[in-house]
């Protein structure tokens, strides 16, 4: 299946917004770029978001054009559903070993018609909806996915064979095998992105046990018009929530869960989700419990003020416990710091845990660059050269190097691409001068 070249100028690991930007910026300068993505589609976390702060642009509306650009760029080759097994130094460049996971579908002939998915008898919790929605065992992740091709999840397959029978393009390859691919690259940009703090990290919140305690990315999906419910409902029983609480720093600034840093985005996404929910549900009451609101970016403080003006309640106090009532409402226990330390037990229909950002990829020896105490990749000089990893020729972009929001990730991706371009110019003869 490998129809890759033997050599690329640059390899970008991770095709989220940072990876796509880095690949595009490098490709625009005439370098041949391989963009590697572990998931079936490119787009990363951003393509699943509802709207972005502070502009309230539709996230997929501004993300999908980037995806399409990357997919159609003549100098970019996209390799999805592929893991990076190993990156070894070879002179100024690298020998790279990739693992292409079997889709059991021919990517080149699949026309993305979804007939197989509609015929498949198995329903599976959908990763794209953080388990709240469903997919079939053979599926196209979402309507904006690139490539628009089906993937067969063999773990959940009943081996009924219907998918191949209904396929109009005859593109199922049931005997496909995982394939190791070896290539050479001149430089590497790591944009491996984020995962959120596990929902069970803080046991007192019961985030992994109570259905109405939801994770913030799940809430993005719930709010999205193409989300699992099509409208904002709570997961336990489909009730339209009238009281929602946000628990800030639920997965950050907490040594007991090993995440002592601030994740930078949670205050803003909570404010954004809260504000939007008031637009979606008439009369909804939303309280954000926080230790302090960190609205640090351009237009962020104004956004915070706007949210308060529009009736979002901001309460100072870290929530300590979340328990469930008989009808699956939630009781949170918190000290109101601004009200003389009054301890309150308040009932909510739904609670969003503002989980923090953690690195998604821990390559260990597969990629010999240093990792900091916080788990993110270390920069040789975080102040002056933030995109340089501890290995020459390997550059960092986006959340892989530390928590950051979308604009910062994009800016950093551009910077990483520029550093990579300089490195390639220095170490190889210029490929294209035109």
């Amino acid at each position: 299946m490998s129809d890759l070249n033997k050599r690329y100028d640059g390899m970008v690991i991770g095709a989220g917004i940072a990876g796509m930007q880095a690949a595009l910026d490098l490709a625009e300068q005439g370098f041949q770029v391989l963009l590697v993505e572990k998931d079936p589609s490119i787009g990363g976390v951003m393509v699943g978001l509802n709207k972005v702060f502070p502009t309230l642009d539709c996230s997929s509306c501004i993300c999908t054009p980037r995806m399409a650009e990357a997919a159609h760029h003549p100098n970019i080759t996209i390799q999805t559903y592929t893991e990076v097994l190993n990156v070894d130094r070879n002179g100024p460049g690298f020998n790279v070993k990739l693992l292409k996971k079997p889709r059991y579908v021919d990517e080149d002939t699949c026309i993305g018609c979804s007939k197989c998915e509609l015929e498949c008898p198995v329903l599976v919790p959908h990763e794209f909806d953080y388990g709240l929605g469903s997919r079939r065992a053979v599926y196209i992740p979402h309507s904006n996915a690139i490539p628009q091709v089906a993937t067969l999840d063999v773990e959940h397959c009943t081996f009924c064979g219907k998918c191949a029978k209904v396929c109009p393009a005859d593109c199922f390859i049931y005997d496909q095998q995982p394939e190791e691919i070896e290539i050479e690259v001149g430089a590497v940009i790591v944009a491996s992105g984020l995962q959120i703090t596990p929902m069970g990290a803080k046991a007192e919140y019961n985030g992994d046990k109570l259905p109405n305690v939801v994770n913030p990315l799940g809430m993005e999906r719930i709010q999205s018009s193409n989300g699992p419910y099509g409208t904002v409902l709570r997961p336990s029983d489909g009730k339209i929530p009238k009281k929602i609480a946000y628990v800030q720093c639920a997965g950050s600034r907490d040594k007991t869960i090993g995440v002592s840093y601030c994740s930078r985005v949670c205050c803003m996404y909570a404010l954004k989700q809260a504000l939007l929910t008031t637009h979606y549900i008439h009369g909804v009451e939303i309280t954000i419990y926080h230790m302090d609101i960190r609205a640090f970016g351009k237009g962020y403080e104004q956004f915070y003020r706007r949210a308060m003006d529009e009736g979002i309640k901001i309460v100072k106090g870290k929530v300590a416990k979340i328990d469930e009532t008989d009808n699956q409402d939630l009781i949170i226990r918190v000290e109101h710091l601004d009200e003389g330390g009054r301890v309150e037990e308040a009932r909510y229909d739904m609670v969003v845990l503002s989980q923090g950002l953690m690195p998604a990829w821990k390559p260990g020896s597969a990629l010999g660059i240093d990792v900091g105490e916080d788990g993110f990749f270390e920069s040789v000089n975080p102040k002056i050269k933030p995109t340089l990893s501890t290995m020459e020729g390997v550059f960092l972009a986006g959340v892989s190097a530390g928590p950051k929001d979308i604009p910062d990730s994009i800016v950093e991706a551009g910077a990483a691409a520029m550093e990579a371009a300089n490195y390639l110019q220095r170490t190889t003869k210029p490929k294209v001068t035109a």
Binding site: T77, D108, P121, L123, H156, F159, A164, C171, I173, D175
Partner: protein
């Protein structure tokens, strides 16, 4: 991805006739016991929900009560049915939507 496709790599399965699903099944040792259980339960729940909905639109808590299912399980399945066009929203009853089977065309 690439517009050139070399014969003998990706294309072999097509021209020489697709490998049967048996190959995949044998390679993975068939369905795991866990998966069998999951699939059986899935179909049971779906049948319960379909039968219940035949008597008219219902909210998730109503369905859950009628079918003696956990309400979050009911919710997930109703939403799955909604996604794949088997049910649609009906009226709002209080804080809940009710759902009805989509008529076959």
């Amino acid at each position: 991805m690439s517009d050139k496709k070399e014969a003998g790599t990706n294309g072999h399965a097509k021209s020489e006739g697709a490998a049967s699903i048996k190959v995949l099944r044998d390679r993975h040792g068939g369905m795991s016991a866990e998966m069998k259980e999951y699939y059986k339960e899935l179909n049971n729940i779906r049948k319960l929900l379909f039968d219940a909905l035949k008597s008219g639109p219902m909210t998730v808590p109503e369905l859950a009560r009628k079918c003696s299912l956990k309400s979050e399980t009911t919710m997930w399945h109703v939403m799955a049915m909604r996604r794949y066009g088997e049910v649609v929203e009906d009226k709002i009853q209080g804080d809940y939507y009710s759902y009805r089977l989509k008529e076959a065309h």
